[in-house]
């Protein structure tokens, strides 16, 4: 631990670099996660309204034909 803290006279610059990197990557990661969650919620809402994609409708009708 002593070695970790012995960053010399420029410790402020070193710590600032690690904090900036953590902040930028953390913000980007959080944005990607939030964007994904928002998109999945909106897709679910559309599907709940009965709106489906063409490929989903085709899969459903194929399954229906196979079942009949």
């Amino acid at each position: 631990m002593t070695d970790l803290l012995a960053l010399g006279p420029h410790a402020g610059f070193i710590v600032a670099c690690y904090l900036v990197t953590l902040g930028v990557i953390g913000a980007l990661f959080a944005w990607i996660l939030a964007d994904g969650a928002r998109l999945r919620a909106r897709l679910s809402a559309m599907e709940a309204q009965g709106v489906t994609r063409r490929s989903a409708r085709a899969r459903k009708s194929n399954a229906g034909e196979a079942g009949s």
Binding site: I14, C17, D35, M46, R53
Partner: protein, 252 residues
Amino acid sequence: MAILDLANPTRFLALSARLLPWLFAACVVAFAAGLYMTFFVAPDDYQQGATVKIMYLHVPAAWLAMMCYSVMAVSSLGTLIWKHPLADVSAKAAAPIGAAFTLISLITGSLWGKPMWGTYWVWDARLTSVLVLFIMYLGLIALWRTIEDPIRAGKAAAVLTLVGAINLPIIKFSVDWWNTLHQPASVIRMDGPTIHPTILWPLLVMALAFTLLFFVMHLMAMRNEILRRRLRTMQLQAASARVGVATSQAAE
């Protein structure tokens, strides 16, 4: 499964969902090992002292900034030549990640420059060409947001990305072609690295961790972009259905 089968977005979503937890775990392990080596194994540099620890962030971020743009350039070829369904999804998803790594490279370089060079910034060839790279990332993000149709936006961005790729060799060789304050390459050289192994190995492990982080975030962002396009298609379907109902009611 042939590699081209991954061109199907549904298959890509299924495969990436299986791959992501493993990649994320590998990324966490690589960062844990890299940071341990950085703070507890790697010695201080005989000239720079402890500020060499900035290198373990700055150099991988700079490599990733260029690798990310290379991924976008290859994806742009996929868009323009092969019209690969996932190519412009890949390019669009990579742009914010590339911008973030370039920003980290610029800020950490600046914070490293002050104690070592005596200045945060100089307009030399390496620093300026990396700043141009950052501005190009922002320009491409803006272009994608300006054109509503993702297919048209993808083609326009692909052309701009390929034009901007000329900046990559300029960044790489700027330290050789011009007299710059920035040091020349010391890892990827024809005659091998000039860094002592006790400092080189932590750097390589941190570079691996950053690369895995890029792939994790890129896959996640690509999945988001596929969902965004599906949502857009469904919204257009819903809107056209509403217009159809309104037209038939008006006709009655």
